[in-house]
Each structure stands twice: as structure tokens, then as C-alpha cells.
Amino acid sequence: MTTPQLTLRATGRARRRLIVNRVAEVAAIAAALSAIVVLGIMVWSVASRGISALNLDFFTKGPALFGQSGGGIAPAIVGSIVLVAIATIVALPFGVMTAIFVSEFAPKQWADQVRLWLDTLNGFPSIVIGIFVYTLIVKEALPVLGIGGHQSAIAGGVALAIIMLPLVARSAMEVLALVPNGLREGSYALGVSKWQTVVRVVLPTSLGGILTGTTLAIARAAGETAPLLFTCAIASNAVDWNPSHSVQSIPLTIFTYSESADPNLHAQAWAAAFVLIVFVLVTSLTARFLLDRSRRKLGLHR
């Protein structure tokens, strides 16, 4: 006599459900892989085409005369440093003060409003911000202060600062919210006033997080092209540290070179893109790593 064979193999409907499940999993894995592969191909294309044009001249000389090979992007590197420095000087204090007000003083409703408007600002297209600064201090001089009236590193820096502001403020708010209330209460209990508590206790505790958030914003600003188009685009070919002059910048150099017909300039564009991508990826990876660490240090890691 025979006993019916028992198997653990799914059949019929159960089998179909398992197959559907497997297909879905494979699709999800494929999606994630494809995104990583695209990043890999992108970085590899930039590196393989960019490294060959990299040499000392590239970092120390200005652009070659038309038709000649060689040359470098020294003015653009200097210009980008000037622009990002101005943007940071403007955005950091505003961003941090906004965050302090929201986390230490403001009633919850007002804090929610500030968050909402900052997110809206963050969602504005960067080209619109460029146009805004153009209408504000490039097309005509700023009333009262009288700065502007022409393209300048100040105008470009202000445009980049508006890009950075919501990023700095939001990350600072997040870090300030992680500072344990016990620290604040301890300080009050010792009779320390509110502003002293903020300056001497809250800010030092959260400084690491605020700075790494700022670094992420710098990495973003350094790669922005659109805000500079109308504010700081037409510049001389010489190295220029003067913020009231219009200066060259790395992203804009890549943009104009990429649309030119000269193969030498294409090579330069790839090399500049390589420099930019290395800077941006290294700074954002480091900042992210430090941010995770400072979050953990504040005792609230997820």
C-alpha cells in the first residue's frame, strides 16, 4: 500500500504567490542596483576623461588662448572659493539665528510656520533665485546701501547664500532639537540667563552638527550653476580675489566649455567636472559621517 507523498513544495495558488513575491523582490533589487550603476558610470566617465587633462598648469594657469591647447582653470577655482566664502558668511549666521529662534524662543505654531516657509524657499528653482538677485542688485544698485548695479562675486555669493540658507537653518534646527533639555535646565538652575545658556551651553554642544550641516550646504552651493548665470557670469580671464568684480567659477566654466565646439575645452570641462565632483562627493561623505557621529554623541541615534 502507498502513503500519499508529503512535500513542502508549494503548488497552485501558493506557488503563484511565491513567484510574484520573488519577482517583486528582484525588481526592487534591480532598481537599487541600476541607480548605483548609473552613479558608477557617471563617476567613471568623468574620472576617465578628466584625469588625463589634470596637471599642475590646470590648477595654476588661466585659460589658454583660442585654439591653443593646455591652459587651466585657476581663475575659476579662485572665483568659486570667493563665491562660496561670501555665501557661507551670509548664510551661516542667518541660518543659525533662525534655528535658535525656532528651537529656543518661538511658540510651536510660529516654529512650524518658519519650517514651512524655509521648505518652500528650498523648493524654489535655483534659476529663479538667480533672477531674484539679478533684479535686486545686478540690474540696478540696491537702494540705500548702493552696492551692485553690475554683476559681481557679491551678487553671486548672495544668490548662493539664499540656496544655502534653508539647508543650514533646517539642519541646525534638527541638531538644536537634539540637545538634551537637562543641559538647559541645569544651566537655568545655576542662575544663568537664557541667552548665556544658548551661547555657552546649547551652541557648543551642537556646534559639530551645525558645522557639518553647513558643510553639506557648501558642497551643494559649490556645484550650483543656475544662480550664477545672471549674477556672476561675465568675467575676465585673470585670477581675481575682489568680491566687487564678477569672477569665474568652476560650475559655470564647465557649463560654457561643455557647449563650445573646441575639443580642448571639452577636455578641460571634464577635468573641471572631475575636480568639482571629487570636492563635492568627498565633502558630503565626510560631513555625513561626522553628522551621524555627532547625532550618536548627543545620545539619540536612530
Binding site: 513575491n21 532598481a31 566617465s45 533662525t98 521648505d119 518652500t120 524657499l121 528653482p125 562627493l281
Partner: protein, 324 residues
């Protein structure tokens, strides 16, 4: 007779209380004004853009939106095909990136082993850190040629009977389709990282309940994980849309800057942001500059509503999740 004098200021300097009171007030107002400025910036941008566009608004009126010319020598400007181009490219991009992003987020939150989650998530977020001008450069010289050589002929050989997929001129590299691909790549990290956070936030008991009832992982995702954060997922896609709508540089590099639009997406086209970016050196007359600002205004209105809508949806779904 001398009054018994009470020694003063031995324990606290008399100015201390005053300094603290003033300091607190000053600090309050300083930070308050900073946060007010951050908020007013949004209104200031809208006001200045409106003011800058005013000459063009007066000159063309609302017919600017429906006109389809961009002729600098004749001082005739209109935005119709630029608006259509903006909508086609960004909706095309989120149609592609939405499902891919949700799949990536599901991989990162539900499927991937813990050792892979961190690094894979970081890599995908790094895609967001790549500057748009670099993606555009790569788009011109790597992606667009590849797409013109292989993808476009393949798609139009299958779907060519639908007009928007019909075969364009032979091997045109700068196309609307190339712009859609570039925008897809740019929106994936935004949408997928928000979705991942949402999926991670779904209460584990709910998911385990589904598994306990015998659901497969896919059935759990389909019936529990995704439905419980549906609003958030929609908002994440809309945030990606906002990014796609406003992207100027990478699009202007690959799209070919051509209007009127063709019927097929395998032909050159243009968008609002791309047109503004492309004209940065060419705008001479005041009316042309003002028309460019008008374009920026239309773009601002579109993206403002997209972002505001997304935030409202997020808020509502947050509240629902907190209530449950």
C-alpha cells in the same frame, strides 16, 4: 548718626541682572528678526520677480502664456511650448522615477540585509550630491549619444505608432527624451530617500501582523507598508516633480533649446527654466529681459503650488499616522 549701611554688590555685580535682562531681550529680537527675514525672503522673491516681469505682463498680458514665438529681433515672446515642454519633461521624469524610487526605498527598508542598507543608501543619496552641471555634461557626451543610438530606435520600433514615440530625425542627440532621462536620474535620490524614511516609520507590529497572517513580503508591502504612508509617497513624488520642474542647467545642456515643439519626444524641445538659462548672455532689450523674468514667474507659480501641495499632503498624512 550713620545709618547701618548694607553692603551692596558683594555677591552679585549690580549690573548683572540688567545685562541679562537686556541680553535676553536683544538675543530674542536678533534671532527673531533673522527668522523673520528668512520667512520674508520667500515673499521678497515673489514680489521682485513680479515687479521684474511687470513690463512684459503689461505688454503681452495673459496671451504670453498661449503665444508660441520667441523672436528677439521682432521683440515677440510667448511661453506656450515652453510650458508644455516643462510639463512633458517633468511628468515624464516622475513617471519613470516614481516607481523606481519606491522600489529602491522598499529594497533599502525591507529587503536589503542590514550590512548593505547603510552603504547602498549613502551611494544613492550621493547621486543627489552630483552637481547638475556635471550630470548635464555627462548627459551631452555619454547618455544622449547612447540614448540616440540604442534606446530611442528601440522604443520607437515598438511604440512608434503612437505619435509622441514616433521616430525623429536620424540619431538626433539633443532631445526631449534625453532631458527626461537626465531628470529621472536627478529625481530618484530625492524621492527614494524620503520614501525610505516613510517605510522605516511604518510600525513594525503592523508589518509583522501581515507576515503572521501568512502574507508574503510582497503582499505585506502591497497591503500594509505602502498604503499606510500613501500620502507621504505621493508627496515625495511631488517633491521630485518640483525639482524636475525647476532644473535649468542639465536640461538646457541636453534638450536642444528648440521651439516650436515637435510631436515626438525624440526631437529637440525646450522648457521654461532651460530657456531662461540659455538666454543669459543673449538678453539685450528690456522687454526680452522682462519676458525672461515672466518665464521665471510662471515657473515659480507652478513649482510653488507643487511644493506647497506636497507639504500639505505630508502634514495631513503625518497627522493620520500619529492618530492611529
Amino acid at each position: 548718626m550713620e545709618a547701618a549701611s548694607v553692603p551692596q554688590g558683594e555677591t552679585l555685580a549690580p549690573s548683572r541682572g540688567l545685562r541679562d535682562r537686556l541680553g535676553d531681550k536683544l538675543f530674542y529680537w536678533l534671532t527673531g528678526i533673522a527668522s523673520l527675514i528668512s520667512v520674508l525672503l520667500v515673499l521678497g522673491i515673489i514680489w521682485r520677480i513680479l515687479k521684474g516681469a511687470w513690463p512684459a505682463i503689461q505688454h503681452f498680458g495673459l496671451s504670453f502664456v498661449s503665444n508660441n514665438v520667441w523672436n528677439a529681433p521682432l521683440n515677440e515672446f510667448g511661453a506656450r511650448d515652453l510650458i508644455i515642454g516643462t510639463i512633458v519633461t517633468s511628468f515624464g521624469a516622475i513617471l519613470l522615477s516614481g516607481p523606481i524610487s519606491v522600489a529602491i526605498a522598499l529594497f533599502l527598508s525591507e529587503i536589503a540585509p542590514p550590512a548593505i542598507r547603510g552603504p547602498a543608501g549613502t551611494l544613492i543619496e550621493m547621486l543627489a550630491a552630483v552637481p547638475s552641471v556635471v550630470i548635464g555634461l555627462w548627459g551631452i557626451y555619454v547618455l544622449a549619444p547612447f540614448s540616440a543610438q540604442y534606446l530611442q530606435p528601440a522604443i520607437s520600433s515598438v511604440l512608434g505608432w503612437i505619435p509622441i514615440f514616433s521616430n525623429g530625425q536620424d540619431k538626433v542627440e539633443s532631445t526631449v527624451f534625453a532631458a527626461i532621462l537626465v531628470l529621472t536620474i536627478m529625481t530618484i535620490p530625492i524621492t527614494s530617500s524620503i520614501c525610505r524614511e516613510l517605510f522605516l516609520g511604518v510600525p513594525e507590529e503592523l508589518e509583522e501582523g501581515a507576515i503572521g497572517l501568512g502574507a508574503t513580503r510582497w503582499e505585506m508591502v502591497k497591503t500594509v507598508t505602502v498604503p499606510s504612508v500613501r500620502g507621504g509617497v505621493i508627496a515625495a513624488v511631488i517633491l521630485g516633480l518640483g525639482r524636475a520642474l525647476g532644473e535649468a542647467i542639465a536640461v538646457t545642456q541636453v534638450i536642444g533649446n528648440f521651439i516650436p515643439l515637435h510631436r515626438s519626444i525624440f526631437e529637440p524641445g525646450d522648457t521654461l527654466a532651460s530657456r531662461v538659462a540659455n538666454q543669459y548672455q543673449g538678453a539685450i532689450t528690456n522687454l526680452q529681459i522682462s519676458s525672461l523674468i515672466y518665464l521665471a514667474l510662471i515657473l515659480l507659480v507652478i513649482s510653488f503650488f507643487a511644493n506647497f501641495g506636497a507639504q500639505l499632503i505630508v502634514k495631513r498624512s503625518d497627522r493620520k499616522l500619529a492618530g492611529s
